[in-house]
């Protein structure tokens, strides 16, 4: 089976226990305005174009058998309806100004990549983390990968928005050592406004996994002025307690590195990610939020 991967990051030390390799799977049902990995939202392959690196050598234009690339005034245009994803342009680009997001890997191929850092996993209690995008979107592939990891004795983590059917979570829960589970808003209307989907299913799945004794680390991205309000924090704590969660909570700082990524993403007509920057509107300091959680008995860490 094959999956579409947009990044493999080794020595990942903020995505679960120990030293890990994080595999980023492409495609996400959510569309969070602050998304840190906007290139992971579209399920299919897409492109990055870095104008600063471009030598204007036209190698990409010349190499395209479909003739569907043009460059003018520091901007690239790809006619996606005619692109066959032959990758000739990417291979021809001498400076890697044009690169691809989304490479197809067979599960065995990906296992070879993942296995490279086994000595580090062994020493540190680390393993592989499937992230995205939303890894549950390529469910059959991730299921197969999790099975293969278990066969090899590699510990696994799934970094998820929780937005997938409960049956799917049921099917993989025994294969996952820890779920890194995002909780973005307590309020459903806010959730819909900023991520494009309701949080009902997300909370239902969380409850389900807790009942099944899955190990869960809650992760809350703190978006200044959006979800770092006292109200949202209070509500989030209330909901977590209601569901019966009492474990680890990670507070993830917002950064605006995605702006650079968004600038580099080659425009696609039907692209749905827009994105916004959140800078000067911080409501509660992360340390304050940390205290809020700690006072309610949660184990809290600022950072991954």
């Amino acid at each position: 089976m094959k999956g579409t991967i947009f990044n493999i990051k080794r020595y990942s030390i903020h995505d679960g226990p120990g030293i890990r390799t994080t595999v980023f799977l492409k495609g996400c049902p959510l569309n969070c305005v602050w998304c840190h990995n906007p290139e992971g939202i579209e399920p299919g392959a897409s492109f990055f174009y870095d104008a600063r690196k471009c030598l204007n050598c036209m190698s990409c234009v010349r190499s395209c058998p479909q003739g569907c690339i043009s460059i003018s005034e520091g901007a690239i245009k790809i006619e996606f309806d005619r692109c066959t994803h032959c990758d000739a342009c990417v291979k021809a680009c001498p400076s890697n100004a044009l690169t691809k997001n989304g490479v197809c890997y067979a599960s065995d191929e990906l296992m070879e990549m993942v296995k490279k850092d086994i000595p580090f996993f062994d020493e540190s209690g680390g393993g592989v983390t499937f992230s995205g995008g939303e890894p549950m979107l390529q469910f059959d592939f991730i299921h197969e990968m999790l099975l293969k990891c278990k066969e090899q004795g590699i510990r696994t983590a799934v970094d998820t928005s929780g937005y997938a059917s409960v049956e799917k979570f049921d099917k993989i829960r025994r294969l996952v050592d820890v779920f890194l589970y995002d909780i973005k808003f307590a309020d459903e209307a806010d959730h819909i406004q900023y991520t494009g989907v309701s949080n009902k299913l997300i909370l239902k799945n969380l409850e389900f996994l807790l009942l099944q004794d899955a190990t869960i680390w809650i992760r809350i991205p703190l978006i200044p002025g959006i979800n770092d309000t006292q109200k949202n924090i209070n509500e989030t704590i209330r909901i977590l307690k209601e569901i019966g969660f009492s474990g680890r909570v990670h507070l993830l700082a917002y950064h605006d590195l995605s702006t650079v990524k968004r600038q580099k993403m080659v425009e696609q007509a039907n692209r749905k990610t827009k994105g916004a920057i959140f800078k000067n509107n911080r409501q509660l300091e992360p340390d304050m939020i940390k205290e809020n959680f700690q006072s309610q008995g949660f184990e809290v860490k600022v950072g991954g």
């Binding site: 030598l55 490279k116 020493e123």
Partner: protein, 786 residues
């Protein structure tokens, strides 16, 4: 740090290096008077004794541990018998912007009138350089290799624990016994041995005289001192100096002073490379510490004060600068003392003790340029100790570096050393493996491996000069396969290594015959027993090393040629060579293509790493086992120190997209910017090198402080190190700084006087580095979390 140490530290930090002509004057006068009257070893020993009797001695305010190499802290003696500075050298040293050495007009005049006229044609350097062959000169001048022994004596000496159980009086007894065993009827070497043993005896006496003079000075000072506390201290100093090094030490104070006198003795006698190193200081001093503390005569803070006094002494000793063109090029210069902490004991048990932790504390408080230090990590080392060291690494002093003791032991056992001696060994100098107190470990010079590829591609002609400097192994147009190219490279390599070794073996005899080191020989087993000098095969182990530079650059270059010329046929080799010889002029697209579309070393990519392995194996087969003049053999190291910058200057553009004259890859690190998959990939690539076949490898990793924030990150750093060692790594070191800080330091050097960075096998002040090295540090891959 207490007030006394603060004052001493400040003084040491602010002291400016000066050249002192005192030693040169004394040596010159002595040679004029005595040359020809004695055998060479005895002459050298009497010269040493003359210095110990006459050179100015110094006891500073506040000092507890006493003695300097020159007349004052950072007053650097010179060694004209090895290599004589010209007036021009002295002027450059006086005026160069980076760490100048002040030279007074009086010293300049002494050099002009007494020293230069006598030593011209007599110094070791003057006897080496003109006697090397034309072939050697062609390669040497083109920067294909360097030669260590034309500037300093062979050194790299590290001590074992014998000086803590034996004083000079005990050594003299041993020497006497060896003399009594001499058999003039059966042993044709008996005369030579007798001369050497007599010389050793004189050296031991010289050392005692030197210490006694300090005792007298302390007593004199006590007589006129008004502060009663200081009077007591001076009286104690006098007592200690009367006791050691003549007798074995019995207190921690005596043990530290013992080491320091012995250290000074070796660096007054000669100017050896990476001059002198105490070895496993925590293991050596622990019994004294334990006894004093348990006996109630000393508490932990007082012990720390004594250790910190020793640390400051190391920093007071700037190394004598080089002569010739390099006087201009090399910046700060030190003796590369690298104190080993942790590791194993001779019996194989864990070497970490309470003092190991105390030494980490000392390092944290003092953090001056010298001494450097490293932690030795074996499979028995407690995590708590390594973690403490990691916390120190995070502070960004550039040390401690970290060594894999288990690998080091295997490296030594592979070349035939006894297991106990191997365990007692460790790192001397930068990253080199040695059996402490039992080995003459001779580094002979660096080898510019990428330059050899350049010569292969140009059929023996150096494209930078147009001169034919090596053998002909075929034109580029004749290489029809990658294998045929590698075959030609092998022939060039064999030719060049032979030329280098022929030169070394000549030089080695010059030192053995003309410049023995009888005092150093007393300290190294089994020189006394063998009646032979340290430089003449006296030690238990005698090894020679060639240090191979640029494994990253050559691997990436060959990888580019293999992929783009031979496999995918995107370029004709002749065209590419032409592009390289024109430094990619008008060919930026080609350069970018080579840089970005080639599998590079450092990414855990077998396509590149297999080439690294093949080249490594070629180097090993060519160098390892070649004979030296002491009945033993050469081995190889994978170390560049700062030579990859010099070698880079002497190298045209390379097929990996590197521009002409820019630095090569350092140590065994990947080329700058070539590793893009993070530190685990770098470590995996490195682990594919069979490091046990070397005498050391060097891996630089730079981390931003943010990456090492918090206890969890410290834990992960430790796990990274342990994994590297588990899969065969020899050494790893970290620079914990961010590039913005460094750029700011370039703009405002005055605000960053304290900023230490790891340069190669040692730490240096960033602002003292020249721009080349500064840029290079900035360019090193940043392991940044995004």
């Amino acid at each position: 740090m207490n007030e006394r140490i603060k004052r001493l530290r400040e003084k040491s930090y602010n002291a400016k290096p000066h050249i002192s002509s005192e030693r040169a004057s004394l040596v010159t006068a002595f040679y004029k008077e005595n040359q020809g009257k004695f055998s060479t070893p005895v002459l050298r020993a009497l010269n040493f004794k003359n210095l110990c009797e006459k050179q100015t001695i110094y006891i500073g305010e506040d000092e507890l541990i006493v003695g300097e190499r020159g007349p004052f802290p950072k007053y650097v003696p010179t060694f004209p018998e090895l290599t004589c500075h010209s007036l021009e050298d002295l002027e450059v040293l006086d005026q160069r912007p980076m760490t100048s050495y002040k030279v007074s007009e009086q010293d300049m005049a002494i050099y002009e009138e007494e020293i230069i006229p006598f030593w011209t044609g007599r110094s070791i350097r003057d006897r080496i350089v003109p006697n090397m062959t034309t072939e050697w000169h062609l390669l040497y001048e083109a920067g294909v290799f360097t030669e260590f022994m034309e500037q300093r004596a062979p050194g790299h000496t590290t001590l074992d624990g014998k000086i803590y159980t034996m004083g000079m009086k005990d050594f003299k007894k041993q020497i006497l016994q060896a003399k009594e065993k001499l058999d003039f009827l059966a042993d044709e070497k008996a005369y030579d041995k007798l001369q050497e043993l007599d010389a050793m005896m004189i050296s031991c006496e010289a050392m005692e005289i030197f210490a006694n003079r300090h005792a007298c000075l302390a007593e004199e000072m006590a007589k006129v001192e008004e502060n009663t506390e200081r009077v007591k201290e001076l009286q104690e100093i006098a007592r200690v100096c009367r006791k050691v090094p003549g007798n074995k030490p019995e207190t921690l104070h005596e043990a530290i002073q013992m080491y320091w006198f012995v250290h000074l003795g070796t660096v007054i006698e000669l100017n050896g490379w990476d001059a002198m190193n105490p070895g496993h200081l925590d293991q050596h001093l622990y019994p004294f510490y334990k006894k004093d503390v348990e006996g109630g005569s000393l508490d932990r803070e007082q012990a720390k004060e004594l250790l910190e006094s020793l640390w400051i002494k190391f920093n007071n000793q700037t190394a004598p600068p080089k002569v010739g063109v390099t006087a201009l090029e090399s910046g700060t210069y030190n003796d590369f003392t690298n104190i080993n902490i942790g590791g194993l004991r001779r019996d194989g048990s864990d070497g970490v003790n309470e003092l190991s932790y105390l030494l980490l504390e000392v390092i944290d408080e003092i953090h001056l340029l010298q001494p450097g230090c490293n932690v030795q990590v074996s499979h028995k080392t407690p995590d708590a100790f390594l973690k403490e060291a990691c916390r120190l690494i995070r502070k960004g002093y550039g040390y401690p570096s970290v060594f894999n003791t288990d690998e080091t032991v295997m490296e030594m056992v592979r070349v035939g050393k006894r297991i106990e001696d191997a365990r007692e060994g460790g790192c001397s100098g930068c990253i080199e493996t040695g059996a402490f107190g039992k080995e003459a470990y001779i580094l002979t010079g660096y080898l510019n491996v990428p330059k050899i590829l350049e010569l292969t591609l140009n059929n023996g002609i150096d494209p930078l000069s147009g001169k034919k400097i090596s053998i002909q192994t075929g034109e580029a147009s004749e290489f029809k396969s990658f294998e045929s190219l590698v075959k030609a490279f092998k022939k060039q390599l064999e030719y060049i290594v032979d030329i280098k070794i022929k030169g070394n073996n000549y030089i080695e005899r010059i030192y053995a015959k003309q410049m023995p080191a009888p005092f150093l020989s007393v300290l190294i087993d089994d020189c006394i027993e063998n009646g032979r000098d340290y430089y003449d095969g006296g030690p238990r182990y005698n090894t020679n090393y060639i240090q191979c530079c640029g494994i990253g650059t050559i691997t990436d270059s060959l990888s580019a040629l293999k992929k783009h010329v031979f496999d995918e046929k995107q370029f004709e080799l002749t065209r590419l060579v032409d592009i390289l010889n024109h430094n990619f002029e008008g060919e930026e697209i080609t350069r970018q293509f080579l840089m970005n579309k080639t599998p590079f070393y450092g990414n855990d990519d077998d396509e590149a790493d297999d080439i690294m392995r093949a080249i490594f194996e070629l180097l090993f087969q060519t160098i390892d086992g070649k004979k030296n003049t002491k009945g033993t053999t050469y081995h190889m190291n994978m170390l560049s120190t700062t030579c990859h910058v010099y070698f880079g200057k002497k190298l045209g553009a390379t097929p990996n997209g590197r521009l002409a004259h820019t630095p090569e890859s350092d140590g065994t690190s990947p080329s700058h910017g070539a590793d893009t998959n993070g530190p685990t990939a770098v470590i995996k690539s490195l682990s594919k090198m069979d490091q046990v076949k070397t005498g050391g490898t060097l891996l630089n990793q730079r981390f931003l402080p943010s990456v090492l924030d918090g206890e969890e990150a410290i834990e992960k750093l430790m796990q990274l190190i342990k994994t590297y060692f588990k899969i065969g790594g020899h050494h790893i070191q970290f620079n914990v700084v961010d590039s913005e800080t460094l750029k700011d330091a370039q703009r405002h050097p005055e605000e960053y006087k304290d900023l230490l960075v790891r340069v190669a096998g040692y730490s240096d002040y960033f602002i003292d580095l020249d721009q080349y090295h500064q840029e290079e540090i900035i360019a090193r891959t940043v392991q940044e979390e995004i």
